[in-house]
């Protein structure tokens, strides 16, 4: 059965059972690596992606809910050659150890920063609560999200001036 999904701006036909969780369609059919399998039951956040402007747990979201919706994964934020502001911030703050949880963290942070790039540290901590990190990289992740907020504000200011 075919499902039509819009992922990182591209509309794709996927030959998958509509009950398949988005995670497996992203990884297995579309060969995107950002979203990770962590628990499969929505407890750890490693699979977080964005649907529209919201952070969503792709491991518990069947694709049948997503016809016509816009899905963004960490691959949609930038590339190795041209990292986006959030990716840049995570590199600058060296905010990863094993890095397995990081794309999920980034997508939840992206949703937060898109809504309010001036968000404060307390709000970042509260917002990231559903996402687990086992290496203990939390302090750097918080710093990276703060820095990304700054980068985004700078970008939107310079964008506004041009």
């Amino acid at each position: 059965m075919a499902v039509t999904l819009t992922v990182n701006g591209t509309t794709r036909q996927v030959d998958a059972d509509p009950e398949t969780p988005l995670l497996y369609v992203l990884r297995d059919h579309l060969e995107l690596n950002g979203a990770k399998y962590g628990c499969g039951i929505g407890q750890c956040g490693a699979c977080t992606v964005m649907v529209g402007n919201e952070a969503v747990l792709s491991c518990v979201t069947p694709v049948l809910l997503l016809e016509g919706r816009s899905i963004t994964t960490v691959e949609g934020l930038g590339t190795l050659e041209k990292p986006g502001p959030l990716q840049q911030a995570f590199i600058e703050e060296q905010a990863a150890q094993c890095g397995y949880c990081i794309p999920g963290m980034m997508m939840r942070a992206q949703a937060l920063l898109q809504a309010d790039p001036a968000v404060d540290e307390a709000a970042i901590r509260a917002h990231l609560e559903p996402n687990l990190c086992r290496c203990g990289t939390h302090m750097r992740i918080i710093k990276a999200v703060m820095r990304a907020g700054e980068l985004m504000r700078q970008k939107s200011q310079s964008g506004g001036a041009s």
């Binding site: 398949t20 929505g42 977080t48 518990v60 809910l65 609560e129």
Partner: protein, 461 residues
């Protein structure tokens, strides 16, 4: 002239009436005292007070998220406006540090503060009036030995005339019956203890009994269920929607642990209640359960049979989870969503509390409306902090209104004998657009730890 005379007489009557009312309504101030030394309280009395405060759920209303315990400042939404809880720490300036024991007991018994002002019944003195002097002394000892917090709550946000405290005297005249509690001599000691705790400190009726237009509990609809802060509070009388009828044992277990295998996990504003009750001696919880299950009444044979059928259906699905697909419903959208997004956890394969409840056993799908399922589906069940607890992901970011309505209709049809809900779409819309504001509470952890300072949190995830 005649008109004038009548007017004058009317005016005199009015003044006289007002005078009598004021005289009736007036309460004297009780002199402030120097805050008693913490060491002056007997430790055993303080410990008893701690248990009573947990039964009374004092921390839940008197603590704002992220603020000091018992420091007040939580906004409580009422149909008349927002009332902010007071600081009941022993801080002399902003708390109750200058309240004598007599002033404290009077506030509990009569709903009047130390200065003699009437208190709004958001402070449930219509229940607390039943508390014995002995228990009040223990509560006083407990509160006066807390850490003082210097914190003044915001002003209440009440429009005229509700901002006139004097009017509360009239409210009291209509609805308030002063205690203390009178035991029923023909009932057992345990039942009386349960009645005393349930009606008094536990103030279960404050949420579980519907209120009239003036905010008083409807005595003739005792424990008939209500809606509080946009959470549906289930009837805990003969109309309990629980498929498997409650009994004293299951209720005791549930209240102490925050979950029961036939009923699921406590959540929403019930989560702090079970968290509090988890930290107190079992005998008191059992007494409450004995009394409440008596109010629920002995289930009919028909109800028992329905409960057994529900259990059997749940058991069957847990044994062969993946074969459960076809149902009679023609709601294909709702069914597809349920099977792919919900059933994986809610098939009963893994027992409650860490597994999702099989919905054949759910009070929520049998309730009078879908609000609680709407709330948990949209906002999830946030993990307890540092303790084992149930967790449920939120679907706010992914379900649209039509999808959620289809899902709810499907659940109702598949898991309940009750007629379809009629106001689901309207509730879904109002909850999704924020018109119905839903406070989110963390889950009650499975340990016996007291609840977090405030279990209120943000949506998850």
């Amino acid at each position: 002239m005649r008109v004038l005379k009548i007017l004058a007489a009317f005016a005199i009557l009015l003044v006289l009436g007002a005078g009598i009312f004021v005289a009736y309504a007036w309460r004297s101030a009780i002199d402030p005292v120097d805050p008693p030394a913490q060491t002056s309280f007997d430790r055993a009395l303080v410990a008893r007070g701690a248990d009573l405060a947990a039964i009374g759920n004092c921390n839940v209303c008197h603590t704002a998220p992220g603020r000091e315990p018992f420091g007040g400042g939580l906004g409580i939404q009422t149909p008349f406006g927002t009332i902010y809880s007071t600081n009941i720490t022993p801080d002399p300036e902003t708390g109750i540090g200058r309240w004598s024991e007599a002033a404290f007991i009077r506030s509990m018994r009569e709903g009047v503060d130390r200065e003699g002002r009437h208190l709004y019944p958001a402070f449930p003195y219509d229940h607390y009036t039943l508390v014995s002097d002995e228990d009040n002394r223990a509560l006083y000892a407990f509160l006066m030995t807390r850490t003082a917090a210097s914190s003044t709550p915001p002003e209440n946000e009440l429009p005229f005339p509700f901002n006139l405290r004097m009017l509360l005297a009239g409210w009291k005249a209509l609805y308030f019956r002063e205690g203390p509690f009178q035991p029923d001599p023909i009932r057992s000691e345990e039942w009386n203890r349960g009645n005393y705790l349930t009606e008094g400190l536990s103030h279960c009726g404050a949420c579980h009994t519907p209120r009239n237009r003036l905010g008083a509990e409807k005595k003739d609809e005792y424990f008939a269920g209500a809606e509080v802060e946009n959470w549906t509070v289930y009837p805990i009388n003969g109309n309990s929607p629980a498929p498997v009828p409650w009994n004293a044992d299951s209720l005791t277990f549930y209240l102490r642990h925050g979950w029961h295998e036939h009923h699921g996990a406590s959540r929403g504003s019930m989560a702090p209640v079970t968290a509090n009750l988890g930290s107190i001696p079992e005998a008191d919880v059992k007494a409450i359960a004995v009394y409440v299950s008596d109010v629920m009444g002995r289930p009919s044979q028909e109800r028992i049979a329905r409960g057994e059928a529900a259990s059997a259906a749940a058991r069957k699905e847990s044994e062969a989870p993946l074969t459960v697909r076809a149902t009679s419903t023609g709601n294909r959208v709702g069914e597809a969503i349920f099977l792919s997004a919900c059933q994986g956890c809610h098939d009963g394969r893994r027992p409650v509390p860490f597994g999702g409840l099989n919905l054949h056993l759910s009070s929520a799908v049998n309730a009078s409306n879908a609000q609680n399922i709407i709330n948990v589906t949209l906002f999830g069940l946030p993990a307890a902090r540092g303790e084992p607890s149930a967790i449920m992901p939120a679907y706010r970011g992914v379900l649209n209104q039509d999808q959620l309505v289809s899902l709810l209709d499907y659940m109702r049809e598949r898991f309940s004998d009750q007629p379809a809900w009629t106001d689901t779409r309207e509730r879904v819309a109002a909850t999704m657009n924020g018109e119905r504001e839903v406070p989110i509470y963390r889950m009650d952890g499975t340990t016996q730890a007291p609840p977090e300072t405030s279990m209120r949190t943000t949506s998850w995830p």
